[in-house]
Point group: C2
Chain length 556, copies 2
């Protein structure tokens, strides 16, 4: 190990991710000083700067993988695709959650996997699973590595060793059915890569989670992701038409049909299985023609409540835009302080905003044919105006769109400056939305103020459905210098308890991983857990697959 080792791990045909944070560090920009001043006013003076340690200071244990195991894996996938070197292991030591980054930035990669194994295809995945079941090696499937809930943490689960099964070599668009508008992908294709591969066919997947540039198709499916345009295009659940999963018990291959009543839909067992039941090796997805027009604009709603009511009316009248995001008062205030663009526009339209105090920003986006966009937008305008909303214009909407994948970079900047910054999300019915918003805000304020670090809690409605909506919270506070992880845990627990008490879901699109598993039984009940456990025990009888994720530890 030398100090000249590279900071990233180059992958085939896509950008590298830095070990200590998000994406490509050259994409990072320091937040404007006005935004930092605003933040300091809101959460009090931040602590001293807390940059990550140097890479050569990161602590990693020697690989526990037995030589015989390593040779067997090498025989299955090729020697060059089994890595026990320091850097690949550090890069697979976890995902990109706040606790993940806290640990790695302070030099702790002690939980790194014993090896990184990179299979080329379904058969190699199946062979690795067979070997690992036989040799009792835990396997953590690794797509883009973007989990923010501990989903790729290489826990051993009682086994001597654990490998990270990196799917980045499986990065091909396998086939396109232009007539049925479906495409089959290998699981390691990243979101942006998928759209790049579809573009020559005149098609797009149109699934835009904030992790779009790095998250993989397999990860989308394994975690039931939602994209920023899922209000219009559907969650990944709605886009998956077929899937193939290698399991220790054999191959689960579900054909790409439009609909069926042939028993329970087993695709739903794969969706959200988070690598605990098998490894997704192919996904058939709905795709759509490349939109000829994309129109994004911002509006101001009189209040969060009034804005939510407008969104409800829009979606229940089948007139929702493809993207619909409504910030609450605190998020709006923060956005205004942060973004010169929005502030400038807001100032310009200020005369129109008279009578609206504490207004809330609404970002709306339409994609499709020019006629379709125009027609759908006209339908929405009536509801918006009827609900007392005022148009800010396209500049602010386009500004949001340009920066929509930047959030995780900003987090790195803030963490460098001693700021706790975390997001969490949930969903409930329209009739329960207000109480949920209040309950989670209150829980986060109480928990963090109780530790002397008053937070800034921001929230927006991120996805709307006929029966309800999601709420996406961001909270920031002064990080406790030595007890940041504990501080995070207290806040996270308080929010999760509040969500559960409101009978809302513990996660709308981040998945369960390690961070939410203790709340899963409250949501699906003991019988629900037993049903999942039964499937797990049948498909993965040795229990090698992604230990410690999704399901709580058996109490028996």
């Amino acid at each position: 190990v030398t100090t000249t080792e590279q900071q990233t791990d180059t992958r085939r045909g896509d950008s590298p991710m830095i070990w200590s944070g998000w994406g490509d560090p050259s994409e990072r920009h320091a937040p404007p000083s006005s935004a930092l001043r605003f933040l300091a006013r809101e959460i009090g003076a931040t602590g001293p700067p807390t940059p990550p340690v140097a890479l050569d200071q990161v602590r990693v244990r020697d690989s526990h993988l037995a030589v015989g195991d390593r040779d067997a894996l090498a025989a299955a996938v090729g020697t060059e695709h089994v890595s026990i070197e320091r850097l690949p292991r550090i890069l697979h030591a976890g995902g990109k959650s706040y606790p993940d980054l806290l640990r790695r930035r302070t030099g702790d990669a002690l939980g790194a996997p014993d090896a990184v194994v990179r299979p080329a295809d379904h058969d190699e995945v199946a062979a690795v699973l067979g070997l690992c079941a036989e040799r009792r090696i835990a396997v953590v499937p690794f797509g883009g590595g973007t989990s923010v809930v501990g989903g790729v943490e290489p826990l051993r689960g009682g086994f001597e060793s654990v490998i990270s099964l990196d799917l980045s070599r499986m990065d091909r668009l396998v086939s396109v059915d232009r007539t049925s508008l479906t495409a089959v992908f290998q699981p390691g294709v990243r979101g942006r890569q998928a759209d790049e591969q579809l573009a020559p066919h005149g098609l797009v997947l149109g699934h835009f989670p904030q992790s779009y540039e790095y998250a993989s198709i397999g990860g989308y499916v394994a975690t039931r992701s939602a994209g920023q345009a899922s209000t219009g295009f559907g969650r990944i659940d709605d886009l998956v038409v077929g899937v193939r999963m290698a399991t220790p018990a054999g191959d689960l291959h579900l054909e790409a049909g439009p609909a069926s009543a042939a028993g329970p839909d087993l695709r739903a067992l794969v969706l959200g299985s988070e690598g605990t039941l098998g490894v997704i090796t192919a996904v058939s997805l709905r795709v759509r023609p490349l939109p000829a027009q994309q129109r994004y604009e911002a509006w101001i709603a009189p209040s969060f409540t009034a804005g939510a009511e407008v969104l409800r009316r829009l979606v229940q009248a089948d007139a929702a835009p493809d993207v619909a995001r409504l910030s609450d008062e605190d998020e709006t205030r923060t956005a205004m302080a942060q973004q010169e663009g929005v502030k400038g526009v807001a100032a310009k339209v200020y005369p129109r905003l008279r009578g609206i105090r504490g207004g809330c920003v609404l970002v709306l986006g339409w994609e499709g044919t020019p006629r379709g966009v125009s027609r759908r937008r006209q339908e929405a305008l009536e509801v918006l105006r009827d609900g007392g909303c005022v148009r800010l214009g396209r500049a602010a909407g386009e500004s949001w769109r340009r920066s929509r994948f930047h959030g995780p970079y900003l987090r790195d900047e803030l963490m460098d400056r001693g700021v706790l910054v975390e997001t969490l999300e949930t969903a409930t019915t329209w009739s329960g939305l207000h109480d949920l918003h209040t309950a989670v805000r209150t829980a986060l304020h109480d928990a963090l103020e109780g530790r002397g670090a008053p937070p800034l809690v921001l929230c927006h409605v991120s996805h709307i459905y006929p029966t309800g909506a999601s709420l996406y919270f961001t909270f920031l506070a002064r990080a406790e210098p030595r007890t940041a992880l504990e501080q995070w845990r207290v806040a996270k627990t308080a929010a999760s308890e509040a969500i559960t008490a409101q009978r809302a879901t513990i996660t709308h699109h981040h998945a369960v991983g390690t961070d939410h598993r203790q709340w899963l039984p409250g949501e699906v009940g003991a019988v629900g857990i037993e049903a999942l456990r039964a499937v797990k025990e049948r498909l993965d009888p040795v229990g090698i697959l992604n230990p410690g994720k999704l399901l709580p530890d058996p109490s028996r």
Copy 2:
């Protein structure tokens, strides 16, 4: 037992069903003689009349239910809700498939359940399941009793006795959330009842299977039903937001949330479980405002292929009507011969039909606000005209709508006249639709001609999706007088093998029951079957629930 016993079994607040056929016999009308002549020309002379035997000729075994079991059940649900009399047992001897009716019409109700048990609520259902697991009594959940795939056949599954668990007392609308547009129903509410209960709230479920007047909400969910307007309103899969199911292992209660990423969606295990995992005791469903306008009309497409292409373009442009049915050439010919209305209209517009030979009828329906209907219809018209379709007008569309629940009555009339009449349905991608249509038609023709009974095979596209469509087949032939069941089985097997060879689904909305279970492994694979079996064994360890349905018998 006397010959004066009533022919039906009166239920609370809804129509009775006759034991030997469909619905209320007073709703039956003899087919027009022109239609019968057409049929005779197509399939050759029919056999001698084959009316059902008299009710007092129906053979039923004595109830096997032990006195202790009966007393225990009576203690759980009340003495008056445990029936071991002849008529209720005959009425629960099976569903309404062609083989079911063949057997009962010839006086065979030897498979009738040993008792009919009618619980009042969730707790009584749970108590009955507990008792039956302890006492080793098979339980067949029975909603509307409309299964056409053997789903409510009271098989014993190796147990001494079997009860039919009739859910008709659980017929209430429990609650309505007008804001979130959801409603909670008990499982025994029939389709039409549900809409009647919602109407005072200005709401409608809008789920219209052909069995709408008798099928129950619980049955919809257990079988993953589709309604005639599901192209627009969604399958029942899309409408279920929450569900409660009593199982021998306890209560599975999934809250009504709009969306979640909290592990696999367990609602999908309940949907399509066909009573094998538990008994559905409450369902929360999306509802919609009562439509102010309903517009149905018929068109003629140049051919089945051209019509299917028009439907594909409509749905992929998000411009599909709520109802979209395209008959193939033979079904169109048959409809013209049967329905004076259609024929009259067709004659009137004949000049416009010049150049179209072998055209295909397309029934389209829009429901909603007048403006929405008008706007959506305008969008569709362009695609229809561009595809060479010619408008027949509203009369033919309304004629279809008026008669859309009459099919099963017509089947009784035809069975009286010695005609084999059966339906089956499947779905596949748009790119596979033509080959599937040809393969199933050919298989049915070959199988029945091979037995000397050339069939009339009709088909329509019944539901359309962005990635594909369903095909609904009706076939008619001269029934073999003594071997009608075997004749049916040969035809059914041939069609099912053809569907499987095309990698299409064995059922789009009829479910699996007894009739399709041998083809389920071909569709979901051995690992899929094992996953289902694992859940079954965990939730119903004694195996009392609906034996012989859905899952094939274990080979081990």
